[in-house]
C-alpha cells in the first residue's frame, strides 16, 4: 500500500506535466487545426533561454519567466513567419514544415549549446515528504502540481470567461464567420500559438529538472506521451487533455513501479490503441472534432 501511495502521488505530478503539454497541443489544434510536431523542439529552445537566464542571474524565477516569454515569442514568430504562409485547408504542409522546424531547431540548439545533457536544478527539494512513514510527493512535485493546475485554471478562465477567450474560440471554430463579426482572426491564431508554446515551455521546464537534464531532445519523449494523451482525450478537448494526462501519468507511474520502466511506453501505446479502436475521436471529443 505504501508503494502504491508513493507511485500514485508521483504519477499525479507526472500526469500534471503531461496534461499541460497535451493542453498546449490542443490549443494549437483548436487555433490553427494543425498538430504542431515542433512543439517539443520549440519548448526545448524556450527552456534553453530559461537555462541561460538562470545561469546568468542565479534566479530560477527569472529563468522561468524568460522561458514562458520566449516560448510565447517563438510560437508567435513561427505562426507569423512560417505557418501563416502555408496553404490553408491542407494538413500536410503544416506537418512537414513542423518536422523541418524540429531538425533546424534541434541542430541549432546543439550547435549553440552543445548536445550534452546540462543539469537543471529544481527550485525546491525533490526529497519526498514522509507522512505516516510513507514517502509521498516531494516539494518539487507539489510545485509542479500547483504550477500546472494554476496555468490550466488560468487558461480555462481565459477561454471560458473572457471576451478574448470567446474570440479565440470563435476564430478557431469558424474563421470566416468570425471575421464578419469583427473578430481579428489572424491575431487570434497568433495568440493561440503564443499561448500554446508558452504552455509547452512551462511543461518542459517543470519536467527537465527531474530528468537527465537539458539537451536539445529533452522534451521529445514528453511530446510523444503528450501527443498520445491529446489523442486519447480528444484533440479538441482541453478537459480531455487534463483527465487523460492525469490518467496516463498514473498509468506510467504504476506500470513503471510494479512492472518495469520498459513496459510503461507499451502500456501507453496499448491504451492509445484501445481508445482509437473504440472511440477514434478521443474519449472526450465531439464527434466531428478530428475531421473539422
Amino acid at each position: 500500500m505504501d508503494r502504491f501511495v508513493f507511485l500514485f502521488s508521483a504519477g499525479l505530478a507526472r500526469g500534471a506535466v503531461l496534461a499541460l503539454f497535451a493542453l498546449s497541443l490542443v490549443i494549437v489544434w483548436r487555433a490553427a487545426r494543425v498538430v504542431n510536431f515542433a512543439q517539443a523542439a520549440m519548448a526545448a529552445a524556450a527552456v534553453y533561454a530559461a537555462f541561460a537566464v538562470t545561469a546568468a542571474t542565479g534566479s530560477y524565477w527569472a529563468g522561468l519567466l524568460t522561458g514562458l516569454a520566449s516560448g510565447a515569442l517563438l510560437g508567435a514568430a513561427v505562426e507569423r513567419g512560417l505557418m501563416r504562409r502555408l496553404p490553408a485547408h491542407a494538413p500536410l504542409p503544416g506537418i512537414i514544415v513542423a518536422i523541418g522546424l524540429v531538425m533546424v531547431l534541434q541542430a541549432g540548439l546543439a550547435i549553440a549549446f552543445g548536445p550534452e545533457h546540462r543539469p537543471m536544478h529544481p527550485p525546491f527539494s525533490e526529497r519526498p515528504f514522509i507522512i505516516g512513514g510513507v514517502p509521498v510527493l516531494s516539494p518539487y512535485d507539489l510545485f509542479t502540481l500547483v504550477a500546472a493546475a494554476a496555468v490550466m485554471g488560468g487558461l480555462a478562465l481565459l477561454f471560458g470567461r473572457t471576451s478574448l477567450g470567446l474570440q479565440l474560440r470563435a476564430a478557431a471554430f469558424a474563421p470566416e464567420t468570425s471575421r464578419l463579426l469583427g473578430v481579428r482572426v489572424p491575431r487570434m491564431v497568433t495568440l493561440g500559438w503564443a499561448l500554446a508554446v508558452a504552455t509547452a515551455a512551462l511543461a518542459a521546464l517543470l519536467l527537465v529538472p527531474t530528468e537527465l537534464g537539458l539537451n536539445p531532445h529533452a522534451a521529445d519523449l514528453l511530446f510523444v506521451n503528450a501527443f498520445a494523451v491529446a489523442v486519447i482525450g480528444g484533440l479538441d478537448s482541453p478537459a480531455g487533455a487534463l483527465l487523460a494526462g492525469i490518467g496516463v501519468g498514473l498509468l506510467v507511474s504504476l506500470v513503471t513501479g510494479y512492472a518495469s520502466a520498459a513496459a510503461a511506453p507499451l502500456a501507453v501505446l496499448a491504451l492509445l490503441t484501445l481508445v482509437l479502436l473504440v472511440r477514434p475521436g478521443g474519449v472526450f471529443s465531439a464527434k466531428e472534432a478530428r475531421t473539422a
Binding site: T162, S163, L164, L166, Q167, R169, A170, F173, A174, P175, E176, T177, S178, R179, L180, L181, G182, V183, R184, V185, A286, E288, T291, A292
Partner: protein, 295 residues
C-alpha cells in the same frame, strides 16, 4: 411608406462587376438602400444575389464598381464591417454550435465592457424570445430557434445596415410572421435592411423596394407592386411560367392572373416564387455560408 431623409444612402452599390475566372457573376449592378428602408434582392439562384452580399462584405473583390457604406468606401477587410455598422446573417447560419446561445450573441460585442456586452446580448435575446435558451448549446436547438439566434447575433452590435441572406428559408408561417415583425421593427428604428429571399410573399410583405437580378444584372427595381407588374420580370420568369401553366391551366379572370399586354397571363407572386425555386439548379458562390456547421 415614409420618405427617406435626403442624406447619403446607407448602402450605395454602383456599377458593381464581379467575375470568377471567365464567368461574369455580376455585370454592373447598381442600387442603394437608405436608412430605415428595407430592400429585397430577388432572382433565381445563380442570379448573383449572394455575390452582391459577398462583394459588400469584402469577401469577393469586384472587378469594377464601388460599394459605399454611409457615404464612405466599404471596408477593405471583412473584419472592418462591424465597425462600419454592417451585420450579416448567412444562409448556413454560421452559428458557433458548441457555444451557448448567449456566447454566440456576445462574439460581436467584444469591444464593450463585459457587463455592458452581457446586458446588450440579453436584451437582443429577449427581443427575439430567446432568453430562456441563453445557456443552451446553439447546436442543440431546432432550426427556427437557430435562425433566430443568428438574427440576434447580427442585431447585437446595433447595425446601421443589416444584410439578411434568406432569413425566411426553412421557416413556418408563424416564424415568418415573427421575422417580418422583427424586420419592420429594426427598419423602423432607422436600420437599412437588405435581404436576399426566395419567399416572395415575405418579400412583398416587408420590402419597401425590390431589386430583381438575373444573370448578374438588375432587370427591374421598384416598389413591390411595380416589380410585380414589370414586363422584364415577367419575361425572366416566362419560361417557367409556361411550365406552370401547362401543369395547371390558368383560371380566366382570376384575381391572381390579370390579363397582360400581349395576352399572356401575368405571373402572380406565387408563380414567381415557384419560378425562383425551380431555378435552384443554377449555382452561385455562397461565401462562408456553410462554414459554421462544424463549429
Amino acid at each position: 411608406m415614409t420618405t427617406p431623409p435626403p442624406t447619403a444612402p446607407r448602402l450605395e452599390v454602383d456599377g458593381l462587376e464581379v467575375a470568377f475566372g471567365g464567368l461574369t457573376a455580376l455585370g454592373g449592378v447598381s442600387f442603394e438602400v437608405r436608412d430605415g428602408e428595407t430592400v429585397a434582392l430577388i432572382g433565381p439562384n445563380g442570379a448573383g444575389k449572394t455575390t452582391v452580399f459577398n462583394a459588400v462584405c469584402g469577401i469577393v473583390k469586384p472587378r469594377k464598381g464601388n460599394v459605399r457604406i454611409g457615404g464612405r468606401p466599404a471596408p477593405a477587410r471583412t473584419t472592418g464591417l462591424l465597425a462600419a455598422g454592417v451585420a450579416r446573417t448567412l444562409q448556413g447560419l454560421g452559428l458557433f454550435e458548441r457555444m451557448t446561445v448567449l456566447e454566440n450573441v456576445l462574439v460581436p460585442l467584444s469591444s464593450l465592457r463585459a457587463e455592458d456586452a452581457a446586458a446588450r446580448a440579453r436584451d437582443r435575446l429577449a427581443e427575439l424570445g430567446l432568453l430562456d435558451l441563453a445557456d443552451r448549446s446553439a447546436g442543440t436547438l431546432p432550426y427556427p430557434e437557430r435562425k433566430r439566434v443568428a438574427l440576434a447575433r447580427a442585431l447585437a452590435a446595433d447595425p446601421r445596415l443589416l444584410l439578411l441572406d434568406e432569413p425566411a428559408g426553412g421557416l413556418g408561417a408563424a416564424d415568418i410572421e415573427a421575422l417580418a415583425e422583427t424586420v419592420r421593427r429594426v427598419a423602423g428604428e432607422g436600420c437599412a435592411v437588405l435581404l436576399v429571399e426566395h419567399h416572395v410573399d415575405f418579400v412583398m410583405d416587408v420590402a419597401d423596394r425590390i431589386v430583381v437580378l438575373d444573370f448578374g444584372e438588375v432587370i427591374a427595381a421598384g416598389s413591390p407592386e411595380e416589380v410585380r407588374r414589370d414586363p422584364a420580370v415577367e419575361a425572366a420568369y416566362l419560361g417557367l411560367e409556361a411550365v406552370n401553366a401547362a401543369a395547371e391551366p390558368p383560371q380566366s379572370g382570376g384575381a391572381g392572373h390579370p390579363p397582360a399586354r400581349g395576352g399572356a397571363p401575368r405571373p402572380s407572386t406565387a408563380d414567381i416564387s415557384v419560378a425562383t425555386e425551380a431555378h435552384a439548379h443554377r449555382s452561385e458562390p455562397q461565401g462562408p455560408a456553410g462554414e459554421g456547421g462544424t463549429a
